[in-house]
Point group: C2
Chain length 275, copies 2
Protein backbone atom coordinates (compact mmCIF):
# COMPACT_ATOMS: atom_id res chain seq x y z
CA UNK A 1 0.00 0.00 0.00
CA UNK A 2 1.32 3.44 -0.94
CA UNK A 3 1.00 4.75 2.65
CA UNK A 4 3.73 7.35 2.20
CA UNK A 5 1.61 9.14 -0.42
CA UNK A 6 -1.39 9.13 1.91
CA UNK A 7 0.60 10.27 4.95
CA UNK A 8 1.70 13.38 3.07
CA UNK A 9 -1.84 14.19 1.82
CA UNK A 10 -3.16 17.69 2.60
CA UNK A 11 -6.88 17.25 2.08
CA UNK A 12 -9.68 14.70 1.68
CA UNK A 13 -12.68 14.43 -0.62
CA UNK A 14 -15.02 11.83 0.83
CA UNK A 15 -17.88 10.00 -0.87
CA UNK A 16 -21.00 9.71 1.29
CA UNK A 17 -23.17 6.70 0.41
CA UNK A 18 -21.25 3.48 1.02
CA UNK A 19 -18.54 5.26 3.04
CA UNK A 20 -20.47 7.01 5.84
CA UNK A 21 -23.62 4.89 5.66
CA UNK A 22 -25.39 2.28 3.55
CA UNK A 23 -28.66 3.46 2.04
CA UNK A 24 -31.66 1.41 3.11
CA UNK A 25 -34.60 3.36 1.74
CA UNK A 26 -35.24 5.35 4.89
CA UNK A 27 -32.62 6.84 7.19
CA UNK A 28 -29.58 4.81 6.14
CA UNK A 29 -27.51 2.27 8.11
CA UNK A 30 -24.33 3.67 9.69
CA UNK A 31 -20.98 2.16 8.70
CA UNK A 32 -19.08 1.38 11.89
CA UNK A 33 -16.55 3.98 12.97
CA UNK A 34 -17.54 6.56 10.35
CA UNK A 35 -18.98 9.16 12.77
CA UNK A 36 -15.84 9.04 14.92
CA UNK A 37 -13.59 9.18 11.82
CA UNK A 38 -15.29 12.36 10.55
CA UNK A 39 -15.08 13.90 14.02
CA UNK A 40 -11.33 13.21 14.24
CA UNK A 41 -10.73 14.91 10.87
CA UNK A 42 -12.78 17.91 11.93
CA UNK A 43 -11.06 18.17 15.32
CA UNK A 44 -7.67 18.06 13.57
CA UNK A 45 -8.89 20.75 11.10
CA UNK A 46 -7.90 18.44 8.26
CA UNK A 47 -9.32 19.94 5.02
CA UNK A 48 -12.40 17.87 4.22
CA UNK A 49 -15.34 18.04 1.79
CA UNK A 50 -17.97 15.45 0.99
CA UNK A 51 -18.52 14.85 -2.73
CA UNK A 52 -21.62 13.00 -3.78
CA UNK A 53 -23.61 12.26 -6.90
CA UNK A 54 -26.75 12.15 -4.80
CA UNK A 55 -29.41 13.86 -6.87
CA UNK A 56 -32.57 12.70 -5.12
CA UNK A 57 -32.29 15.53 -2.62
CA UNK A 58 -30.76 18.97 -2.11
CA UNK A 59 -27.62 19.76 -0.08
CA UNK A 60 -29.90 20.95 2.70
CA UNK A 61 -31.80 17.66 2.69
CA UNK A 62 -28.61 15.64 2.67
CA UNK A 63 -27.11 17.72 5.49
CA UNK A 64 -30.20 17.15 7.63
CA UNK A 65 -30.00 13.42 6.92
CA UNK A 66 -26.32 13.22 7.93
CA UNK A 67 -26.93 15.28 11.06
CA UNK A 68 -29.82 12.98 11.97
CA UNK A 69 -27.45 10.00 11.66
CA UNK A 70 -25.04 11.72 14.09
CA UNK A 71 -22.49 13.38 11.78
CA UNK A 72 -21.27 16.85 12.55
CA UNK A 73 -21.59 18.45 9.10
CA UNK A 74 -22.91 21.66 7.57
CA UNK A 75 -24.22 22.43 4.08
CA UNK A 76 -20.88 24.04 3.17
CA UNK A 77 -19.12 20.71 3.73
CA UNK A 78 -20.98 19.11 0.82
CA UNK A 79 -20.44 19.32 -2.94
CA UNK A 80 -23.42 17.97 -4.81
CA UNK A 81 -24.05 17.84 -8.58
CA UNK A 82 -27.30 19.77 -8.09
CA UNK A 83 -25.35 22.71 -6.72
CA UNK A 84 -22.69 22.26 -9.40
CA UNK A 85 -25.12 22.20 -12.33
CA UNK A 86 -26.85 25.31 -11.05
CA UNK A 87 -23.49 27.12 -11.09
CA UNK A 88 -22.74 25.85 -14.62
CA UNK A 89 -26.10 27.00 -15.97
CA UNK A 90 -25.81 30.40 -14.28
CA UNK A 91 -22.36 30.89 -15.79
CA UNK A 92 -23.54 29.96 -19.30
CA UNK A 93 -26.83 31.84 -18.88
CA UNK A 94 -28.72 28.70 -19.94
CA UNK A 95 -32.33 27.79 -19.22
CA UNK A 96 -33.01 24.11 -18.63
CA UNK A 97 -35.73 21.54 -19.12
CA UNK A 98 -35.48 19.61 -15.83
CA UNK A 99 -36.00 15.87 -15.46
CA UNK A 100 -34.86 15.58 -11.85
CA UNK A 101 -36.17 14.41 -8.51
CA UNK A 102 -38.96 16.66 -7.25
CA UNK A 103 -36.96 17.39 -4.09
CA UNK A 104 -34.30 19.13 -6.23
CA UNK A 105 -36.71 21.45 -8.04
CA UNK A 106 -36.54 24.26 -5.46
CA UNK A 107 -32.72 24.56 -5.72
CA UNK A 108 -32.94 24.71 -9.54
CA UNK A 109 -35.97 26.99 -9.79
CA UNK A 110 -34.13 30.01 -11.21
CA UNK A 111 -32.45 28.06 -14.03
CA UNK A 112 -35.62 26.22 -15.09
CA UNK A 113 -37.47 27.13 -18.29
CA UNK A 114 -41.22 27.23 -18.34
CA UNK A 115 -42.98 24.53 -20.32
CA UNK A 116 -43.72 26.91 -23.19
CA UNK A 117 -40.25 28.47 -23.60
CA UNK A 118 -37.45 27.05 -25.72
CA UNK A 119 -34.52 25.70 -23.67
CA UNK A 120 -30.73 25.51 -23.91
CA UNK A 121 -30.35 22.12 -22.30
CA UNK A 122 -31.99 19.16 -20.62
CA UNK A 123 -30.79 18.37 -17.09
CA UNK A 124 -31.20 14.77 -15.93
CA UNK A 125 -31.00 13.78 -12.28
CA UNK A 126 -31.99 10.67 -10.41
CA UNK A 127 -35.71 11.23 -10.95
CA UNK A 128 -36.54 7.70 -9.80
CA UNK A 129 -40.29 7.17 -10.28
CA UNK A 130 -40.28 10.45 -12.22
CA UNK A 131 -38.70 8.57 -15.16
CA UNK A 132 -42.03 7.90 -16.87
CA UNK A 133 -42.33 7.40 -20.64
CA UNK A 134 -44.09 10.75 -20.92
CA UNK A 135 -41.33 12.56 -19.01
CA UNK A 136 -38.53 10.88 -20.98
CA UNK A 137 -40.32 11.63 -24.24
CA UNK A 138 -40.74 15.30 -23.32
CA UNK A 139 -36.99 15.52 -22.59
CA UNK A 140 -36.23 13.72 -25.88
CA UNK A 141 -38.43 16.12 -27.87
CA UNK A 142 -36.52 19.04 -26.31
CA UNK A 143 -33.23 17.47 -27.49
CA UNK A 144 -34.57 17.25 -31.07
CA UNK A 145 -35.43 20.98 -31.16
CA UNK A 146 -32.93 23.84 -31.72
CA UNK A 147 -31.63 25.53 -28.57
CA UNK A 148 -33.04 28.80 -27.22
CA UNK A 149 -29.61 30.44 -27.51
CA UNK A 150 -29.98 30.36 -31.31
CA UNK A 151 -27.41 29.92 -34.05
CA UNK A 152 -28.79 26.45 -34.75
CA UNK A 153 -27.02 25.14 -31.64
CA UNK A 154 -28.26 21.77 -30.38
CA UNK A 155 -29.93 21.51 -26.98
CA UNK A 156 -27.35 20.22 -24.47
CA UNK A 157 -27.78 17.07 -22.39
CA UNK A 158 -26.39 17.41 -18.85
CA UNK A 159 -26.52 14.49 -16.42
CA UNK A 160 -26.00 14.61 -12.66
CA UNK A 161 -23.70 11.59 -12.64
CA UNK A 162 -23.59 8.49 -14.84
CA UNK A 163 -24.28 5.78 -12.24
CA UNK A 164 -25.53 2.47 -13.64
CA UNK A 165 -27.48 1.40 -10.56
CA UNK A 166 -27.51 1.65 -6.79
CA UNK A 167 -28.51 -0.65 -3.95
CA UNK A 168 -31.28 0.46 -1.62
CA UNK A 169 -33.07 -1.66 0.93
CA UNK A 170 -31.38 -4.80 -0.50
CA UNK A 171 -32.72 -4.13 -4.01
CA UNK A 172 -30.96 -2.83 -7.10
CA UNK A 173 -32.38 0.30 -8.74
CA UNK A 174 -31.64 1.87 -12.12
CA UNK A 175 -29.59 5.04 -11.76
CA UNK A 176 -29.52 8.19 -13.89
CA UNK A 177 -26.76 6.94 -16.24
CA UNK A 178 -29.12 4.42 -17.85
CA UNK A 179 -31.57 7.16 -18.82
CA UNK A 180 -28.79 9.44 -20.04
CA UNK A 181 -27.65 6.61 -22.34
CA UNK A 182 -31.23 6.10 -23.59
CA UNK A 183 -31.55 9.79 -24.51
CA UNK A 184 -28.07 9.85 -26.08
CA UNK A 185 -28.94 6.88 -28.28
CA UNK A 186 -32.29 8.27 -29.39
CA UNK A 187 -31.23 11.88 -29.97
CA UNK A 188 -27.62 11.50 -31.09
CA UNK A 189 -26.59 13.95 -28.33
CA UNK A 190 -23.45 13.49 -26.25
CA UNK A 191 -24.02 13.70 -22.52
CA UNK A 192 -22.04 16.18 -20.42
CA UNK A 193 -21.60 14.75 -16.93
CA UNK A 194 -21.83 17.15 -14.00
CA UNK A 195 -20.68 15.29 -10.91
CA UNK A 196 -18.36 12.32 -10.51
CA UNK A 197 -16.43 11.14 -12.56
CA UNK A 198 -16.04 14.48 -14.37
CA UNK A 199 -12.62 16.06 -13.85
CA UNK A 200 -14.24 19.50 -13.50
CA UNK A 201 -16.25 18.27 -10.50
CA UNK A 202 -13.16 16.86 -8.74
CA UNK A 203 -11.32 20.09 -9.60
CA UNK A 204 -14.09 22.09 -7.92
CA UNK A 205 -13.65 19.83 -4.90
CA UNK A 206 -9.91 20.56 -4.67
CA UNK A 207 -10.64 24.29 -4.95
CA UNK A 208 -13.32 24.05 -2.23
CA UNK A 209 -10.69 22.51 0.07
CA UNK A 210 -8.65 25.71 -0.38
CA UNK A 211 -5.80 23.72 -1.93
CA UNK A 212 -3.92 24.50 -5.15
CA UNK A 213 -2.78 21.12 -6.37
CA UNK A 214 -4.77 17.93 -6.83
CA UNK A 215 -1.72 15.70 -6.23
CA UNK A 216 -1.90 16.04 -2.43
CA UNK A 217 -5.65 15.44 -2.24
CA UNK A 218 -7.19 12.04 -1.52
CA UNK A 219 -10.58 10.97 -2.89
CA UNK A 220 -12.10 8.01 -1.04
CA UNK A 221 -15.16 6.12 -2.27
CA UNK A 222 -16.82 2.76 -2.78
CA UNK A 223 -17.24 3.05 -6.59
CA UNK A 224 -13.93 2.05 -8.13
CA UNK A 225 -14.73 3.53 -11.54
CA UNK A 226 -16.59 6.74 -10.73
CA UNK A 227 -14.95 7.66 -7.39
CA UNK A 228 -11.45 6.18 -7.57
CA UNK A 229 -10.77 6.04 -11.31
CA UNK A 230 -12.40 9.43 -11.91
CA UNK A 231 -10.36 11.12 -9.17
CA UNK A 232 -7.08 9.58 -10.33
CA UNK A 233 -7.77 10.70 -13.92
CA UNK A 234 -8.17 14.23 -12.51
CA UNK A 235 -4.77 13.98 -10.79
CA UNK A 236 -5.90 13.14 -7.24
CA UNK A 237 -4.92 10.16 -5.10
CA UNK A 238 -7.66 7.53 -5.22
CA UNK A 239 -8.54 5.27 -2.30
CA UNK A 240 -10.99 2.38 -2.60
CA UNK A 241 -12.86 1.57 0.60
CA UNK A 242 -14.00 -2.01 1.27
CA UNK A 243 -17.50 -0.93 2.40
CA UNK A 244 -20.71 -0.03 0.54
CA UNK A 245 -21.01 -1.63 -2.88
CA UNK A 246 -17.33 -2.77 -2.93
CA UNK A 247 -17.13 -6.37 -4.20
CA UNK A 248 -13.86 -8.27 -3.57
CA UNK A 249 -14.29 -10.41 -6.69
CA UNK A 250 -14.76 -7.51 -9.10
CA UNK A 251 -12.94 -4.57 -7.50
CA UNK A 252 -9.70 -6.00 -6.02
CA UNK A 253 -7.93 -6.14 -8.36
CA UNK A 254 -9.98 -4.22 -10.92
CA UNK A 255 -9.24 -4.67 -14.65
CA UNK A 256 -8.78 -0.98 -15.42
CA UNK A 257 -8.39 0.97 -12.16
CA UNK A 258 -5.45 0.53 -9.74
CA UNK A 259 -6.15 2.65 -6.66
CA UNK A 260 -3.41 4.45 -4.77
CA UNK A 261 -4.53 2.25 -1.88
CA UNK A 262 -7.31 0.01 -0.59
CA UNK A 263 -8.56 0.54 2.99
CA UNK A 264 -11.05 -1.49 5.02
CA UNK A 265 -13.11 1.55 5.96
CA UNK A 266 -12.98 5.32 6.48
CA UNK A 267 -11.63 4.78 10.02
CA UNK A 268 -8.54 3.03 8.65
CA UNK A 269 -7.93 5.82 6.13
CA UNK A 270 -8.20 8.50 8.84
CA UNK A 271 -5.68 6.59 10.98
CA UNK A 272 -3.22 6.84 8.08
CA UNK A 273 -3.98 10.48 7.18
CA UNK A 274 -3.61 11.77 10.75
CA UNK A 275 -0.52 9.76 11.71
CA UNK B 1 -29.53 3.37 -60.54
CA UNK B 2 -28.82 -0.37 -60.62
CA UNK B 3 -32.09 -1.14 -62.41
CA UNK B 4 -30.76 -4.33 -64.01
CA UNK B 5 -30.33 -5.88 -60.53
CA UNK B 6 -33.88 -4.92 -59.61
CA UNK B 7 -35.36 -6.12 -62.90
CA UNK B 8 -33.95 -9.61 -62.27
CA UNK B 9 -35.22 -9.74 -58.65
CA UNK B 10 -37.38 -12.74 -57.71
CA UNK B 11 -39.06 -11.53 -54.52
CA UNK B 12 -39.78 -8.48 -52.38
CA UNK B 13 -39.68 -7.81 -48.64
CA UNK B 14 -41.58 -4.60 -47.99
CA UNK B 15 -41.50 -2.38 -44.91
CA UNK B 16 -44.93 -1.15 -43.83
CA UNK B 17 -44.83 2.13 -41.92
CA UNK B 18 -43.46 4.90 -44.15
CA UNK B 19 -43.87 2.81 -47.31
CA UNK B 20 -47.56 1.86 -47.32
CA UNK B 21 -48.78 4.59 -44.99
CA UNK B 22 -47.57 7.27 -42.59
CA UNK B 23 -48.56 6.70 -38.98
CA UNK B 24 -50.67 9.47 -37.52
CA UNK B 25 -51.75 8.10 -34.16
CA UNK B 26 -55.04 6.68 -35.38
CA UNK B 27 -55.65 4.92 -38.69
CA UNK B 28 -52.62 6.06 -40.64
CA UNK B 29 -52.38 8.28 -43.74
CA UNK B 30 -52.08 6.39 -47.04
CA UNK B 31 -49.01 6.99 -49.21
CA UNK B 32 -50.21 7.67 -52.76
CA UNK B 33 -50.16 4.71 -55.09
CA UNK B 34 -49.28 2.13 -52.44
CA UNK B 35 -52.60 0.21 -52.49
CA UNK B 36 -52.43 -0.14 -56.29
CA UNK B 37 -48.73 -1.11 -56.12
CA UNK B 38 -49.44 -3.97 -53.68
CA UNK B 39 -52.38 -5.10 -55.80
CA UNK B 40 -50.22 -5.25 -58.96
CA UNK B 41 -47.61 -7.42 -57.16
CA UNK B 42 -50.32 -9.75 -55.88
CA UNK B 43 -52.03 -9.97 -59.26
CA UNK B 44 -48.67 -10.85 -60.86
CA UNK B 45 -48.07 -13.45 -58.10
CA UNK B 46 -44.75 -11.76 -57.38
CA UNK B 47 -43.37 -13.27 -54.12
CA UNK B 48 -44.08 -10.64 -51.45
CA UNK B 49 -43.91 -10.43 -47.64
CA UNK B 50 -44.23 -7.42 -45.38
CA UNK B 51 -41.51 -7.14 -42.73
CA UNK B 52 -42.08 -4.77 -39.87
CA UNK B 53 -40.61 -3.96 -36.47
CA UNK B 54 -44.07 -2.92 -35.33
CA UNK B 55 -44.38 -4.22 -31.77
CA UNK B 56 -47.31 -2.19 -30.51
CA UNK B 57 -49.73 -4.69 -31.96
CA UNK B 58 -50.03 -8.31 -33.09
CA UNK B 59 -49.98 -9.54 -36.67
CA UNK B 60 -53.75 -9.87 -36.49
CA UNK B 61 -54.11 -6.26 -35.36
CA UNK B 62 -51.77 -5.02 -38.08
CA UNK B 63 -53.58 -7.06 -40.74
CA UNK B 64 -56.90 -5.58 -39.71
CA UNK B 65 -55.40 -2.08 -39.85
CA UNK B 66 -54.01 -2.61 -43.36
CA UNK B 67 -57.28 -4.12 -44.58
CA UNK B 68 -59.15 -1.15 -43.13
CA UNK B 69 -56.85 1.17 -45.10
CA UNK B 70 -57.73 -0.75 -48.27
CA UNK B 71 -54.83 -3.19 -48.69
CA UNK B 72 -55.50 -6.74 -49.74
CA UNK B 73 -53.35 -8.61 -47.19
CA UNK B 74 -53.65 -11.60 -44.86
CA UNK B 75 -51.83 -12.43 -41.61
CA UNK B 76 -49.57 -14.84 -43.49
CA UNK B 77 -48.23 -11.94 -45.57
CA UNK B 78 -46.67 -10.30 -42.50
CA UNK B 79 -43.45 -11.06 -40.62
CA UNK B 80 -43.42 -9.29 -37.26
CA UNK B 81 -40.82 -9.46 -34.49
CA UNK B 82 -43.52 -10.53 -32.04
CA UNK B 83 -44.14 -13.68 -34.06
CA UNK B 84 -40.38 -14.14 -34.56
CA UNK B 85 -39.49 -13.85 -30.87
CA UNK B 86 -42.19 -16.32 -29.94
CA UNK B 87 -40.62 -18.85 -32.34
CA UNK B 88 -37.12 -18.18 -30.93
CA UNK B 89 -38.28 -18.69 -27.32
CA UNK B 90 -40.20 -21.86 -28.20
CA UNK B 91 -37.13 -23.29 -29.94
CA UNK B 92 -34.86 -22.52 -26.96
CA UNK B 93 -37.51 -23.53 -24.44
CA UNK B 94 -37.07 -20.19 -22.67
CA UNK B 95 -39.51 -18.41 -20.38
CA UNK B 96 -39.55 -14.62 -20.61
CA UNK B 97 -40.16 -11.58 -18.49
CA UNK B 98 -42.15 -9.40 -20.90
CA UNK B 99 -41.90 -5.62 -21.14
CA UNK B 100 -44.00 -5.19 -24.27
CA UNK B 101 -47.10 -3.39 -25.42
CA UNK B 102 -50.21 -4.80 -23.75
CA UNK B 103 -51.71 -5.60 -27.17
CA UNK B 104 -48.88 -8.14 -27.74
CA UNK B 105 -49.37 -10.04 -24.48
CA UNK B 106 -51.94 -12.50 -25.88
CA UNK B 107 -49.60 -13.68 -28.68
CA UNK B 108 -46.77 -14.22 -26.15
CA UNK B 109 -48.83 -15.76 -23.37
CA UNK B 110 -47.34 -19.25 -23.61
CA UNK B 111 -43.71 -18.07 -23.41
CA UNK B 112 -44.31 -15.68 -20.49
CA UNK B 113 -43.07 -16.52 -16.99
CA UNK B 114 -45.25 -15.77 -14.00
CA UNK B 115 -44.09 -12.97 -11.72
CA UNK B 116 -42.80 -15.42 -9.12
CA UNK B 117 -40.83 -17.76 -11.42
CA UNK B 118 -37.21 -17.26 -12.48
CA UNK B 119 -36.83 -16.39 -16.18
CA UNK B 120 -34.41 -17.09 -19.03
CA UNK B 121 -34.68 -13.71 -20.68
CA UNK B 122 -36.27 -10.29 -20.76
CA UNK B 123 -38.17 -9.41 -23.95
CA UNK B 124 -38.49 -5.69 -24.74
CA UNK B 125 -41.02 -4.38 -27.22
CA UNK B 126 -42.36 -0.93 -27.94
CA UNK B 127 -44.21 -0.70 -24.62
CA UNK B 128 -44.80 3.03 -25.08
CA UNK B 129 -46.48 4.34 -21.90
CA UNK B 130 -45.68 0.95 -20.35
CA UNK B 131 -42.04 2.08 -20.01
CA UNK B 132 -42.47 3.30 -16.43
CA UNK B 133 -39.58 3.43 -13.95
CA UNK B 134 -41.12 0.56 -12.02
CA UNK B 135 -41.45 -1.61 -15.15
CA UNK B 136 -37.91 -0.84 -16.33
CA UNK B 137 -36.55 -1.52 -12.86
CA UNK B 138 -38.34 -4.87 -12.68
CA UNK B 139 -36.79 -5.86 -16.03
CA UNK B 140 -33.37 -4.66 -14.84
CA UNK B 141 -33.62 -6.69 -11.63
CA UNK B 142 -34.40 -9.79 -13.76
CA UNK B 143 -31.22 -9.14 -15.78
CA UNK B 144 -29.15 -9.03 -12.58
CA UNK B 145 -30.41 -12.46 -11.41
CA UNK B 146 -29.18 -15.86 -12.71
CA UNK B 147 -31.29 -17.43 -15.47
CA UNK B 148 -33.88 -20.13 -14.82
CA UNK B 149 -32.04 -22.53 -17.14
CA UNK B 150 -29.27 -22.80 -14.54
CA UNK B 151 -25.52 -23.26 -14.92
CA UNK B 152 -25.01 -19.67 -13.80
CA UNK B 153 -26.12 -18.44 -17.24
CA UNK B 154 -27.05 -14.76 -17.44
CA UNK B 155 -30.63 -13.75 -18.23
CA UNK B 156 -30.81 -12.81 -21.92
CA UNK B 157 -31.99 -9.41 -23.21
CA UNK B 158 -34.03 -9.66 -26.43
CA UNK B 159 -35.35 -6.54 -28.14
CA UNK B 160 -38.01 -6.35 -30.84
CA UNK B 161 -36.02 -3.94 -32.98
CA UNK B 162 -33.53 -1.21 -32.08
CA UNK B 163 -35.36 1.84 -33.39
CA UNK B 164 -34.25 5.20 -31.95
CA UNK B 165 -37.55 7.01 -32.41
CA UNK B 166 -40.57 7.20 -34.65
CA UNK B 167 -42.86 9.95 -35.86
CA UNK B 168 -46.53 9.77 -34.99
CA UNK B 169 -49.12 12.50 -35.39
CA UNK B 170 -46.31 15.00 -36.20
CA UNK B 171 -44.48 14.27 -32.93
CA UNK B 172 -41.31 12.27 -32.27
CA UNK B 173 -41.55 9.38 -29.80
CA UNK B 174 -38.83 7.31 -28.14
CA UNK B 175 -38.65 3.82 -29.62
CA UNK B 176 -37.64 0.52 -28.02
CA UNK B 177 -33.93 0.85 -28.89
CA UNK B 178 -33.46 3.65 -26.35
CA UNK B 179 -34.74 1.43 -23.54
CA UNK B 180 -32.68 -1.54 -24.72
CA UNK B 181 -29.59 0.69 -24.52
CA UNK B 182 -30.55 1.84 -21.00
CA UNK B 183 -30.84 -1.75 -19.78
CA UNK B 184 -27.63 -2.77 -21.54
CA UNK B 185 -25.72 0.05 -19.87
CA UNK B 186 -27.10 -0.66 -16.39
CA UNK B 187 -26.85 -4.46 -16.47
CA UNK B 188 -23.80 -5.03 -18.65
CA UNK B 189 -25.93 -7.33 -20.87
CA UNK B 190 -25.64 -7.38 -24.65
CA UNK B 191 -28.94 -7.02 -26.47
CA UNK B 192 -30.01 -9.64 -29.01
CA UNK B 193 -32.15 -7.95 -31.65
CA UNK B 194 -35.12 -9.88 -32.99
CA UNK B 195 -36.47 -7.99 -35.99
CA UNK B 196 -34.76 -5.60 -38.36
CA UNK B 197 -31.78 -5.13 -38.76
CA UNK B 198 -30.89 -8.65 -37.60
CA UNK B 199 -29.66 -10.89 -40.41
CA UNK B 200 -31.66 -13.80 -38.97
CA UNK B 201 -34.89 -11.83 -39.38
CA UNK B 202 -34.16 -10.96 -43.04
CA UNK B 203 -33.14 -14.60 -43.58
CA UNK B 204 -36.51 -15.72 -42.23
CA UNK B 205 -38.12 -13.29 -44.68
CA UNK B 206 -36.28 -14.80 -47.66
CA UNK B 207 -37.33 -18.28 -46.50
CA UNK B 208 -40.95 -17.14 -46.10
CA UNK B 209 -40.89 -15.99 -49.73
CA UNK B 210 -40.06 -19.58 -50.70
CA UNK B 211 -36.73 -18.52 -52.21
CA UNK B 212 -33.31 -20.04 -51.61
CA UNK B 213 -30.92 -17.17 -52.11
CA UNK B 214 -30.99 -13.67 -50.65
CA UNK B 215 -29.19 -12.14 -53.63
CA UNK B 216 -32.34 -11.98 -55.78
CA UNK B 217 -34.55 -10.54 -53.04
CA UNK B 218 -35.24 -6.82 -52.64
CA UNK B 219 -35.90 -5.18 -49.28
CA UNK B 220 -37.55 -1.77 -49.55
CA UNK B 221 -37.93 0.59 -46.60
CA UNK B 222 -37.76 4.17 -45.36
CA UNK B 223 -35.08 3.56 -42.68
CA UNK B 224 -31.74 3.60 -44.43
CA UNK B 225 -29.86 1.97 -41.55
CA UNK B 226 -32.30 -0.64 -40.24
CA UNK B 227 -34.16 -1.51 -43.47
CA UNK B 228 -31.67 -0.89 -46.26
CA UNK B 229 -28.31 -1.32 -44.50
CA UNK B 230 -29.55 -4.31 -42.49
CA UNK B 231 -30.90 -6.10 -45.57
CA UNK B 232 -27.75 -5.47 -47.60
CA UNK B 233 -25.58 -6.79 -44.75
CA UNK B 234 -27.71 -9.96 -44.91
CA UNK B 235 -27.01 -10.30 -48.64
CA UNK B 236 -30.26 -8.82 -50.03
CA UNK B 237 -30.69 -5.93 -52.43
CA UNK B 238 -31.60 -2.78 -50.49
CA UNK B 239 -33.88 -0.07 -51.85
CA UNK B 240 -34.42 3.26 -50.09
CA UNK B 241 -37.82 4.81 -50.65
CA UNK B 242 -38.21 8.61 -50.57
CA UNK B 243 -41.35 8.48 -48.42
CA UNK B 244 -41.96 8.12 -44.66
CA UNK B 245 -39.09 9.34 -42.51
CA UNK B 246 -36.68 9.63 -45.48
CA UNK B 247 -34.75 12.91 -45.24
CA UNK B 248 -32.91 14.09 -48.39
CA UNK B 249 -30.24 15.91 -46.36
CA UNK B 250 -29.30 12.92 -44.19
CA UNK B 251 -30.15 9.87 -46.30
CA UNK B 252 -29.10 10.70 -49.88
CA UNK B 253 -26.22 10.16 -49.87
CA UNK B 254 -25.83 8.47 -46.46
CA UNK B 255 -22.39 8.32 -44.82
CA UNK B 256 -22.36 4.55 -44.30
CA UNK B 257 -25.12 2.93 -46.39
CA UNK B 258 -25.20 2.98 -50.21
CA UNK B 259 -28.51 1.44 -51.32
CA UNK B 260 -28.78 -0.70 -54.44
CA UNK B 261 -31.20 2.01 -55.58
CA UNK B 262 -33.32 4.95 -54.44
CA UNK B 263 -36.96 5.12 -55.60
CA UNK B 264 -39.54 7.87 -55.12
CA UNK B 265 -42.16 5.50 -53.76
CA UNK B 266 -43.34 1.87 -53.77
CA UNK B 267 -45.20 2.50 -57.03
CA UNK B 268 -41.94 3.34 -58.83
CA UNK B 269 -40.25 0.21 -57.45
CA UNK B 270 -43.12 -2.01 -58.60
CA UNK B 271 -42.91 -0.47 -62.10
CA UNK B 272 -39.26 -1.62 -62.21
CA UNK B 273 -39.82 -5.06 -60.67
CA UNK B 274 -42.70 -5.97 -63.00
CA UNK B 275 -41.21 -4.58 -66.23
Amino acid sequence: MASHLLRSAKGLLCDISGVLYDPDGSGGRLIEGSIEAVKRLKDARFPLKFVTNESQTTRAGLTAKLQHLGFSVTEEDILSPVTAVRAVLKERNWKAHLLVHEDCLPELQDVAATAADPVDCVVLGDASDGFSYAALNAAFQRLMTPAARGGGQPVGLLSLGMGRYYRQAEQLHLDVGAFARALEFASGSTVEVVGKPSAAFFGAGVKALGLDGAAAVVMVGDDIVSDVGGAMAAGLLGVQVRTGKFRPSADEPHPSVTPTAYVDDLKQLVDILLN
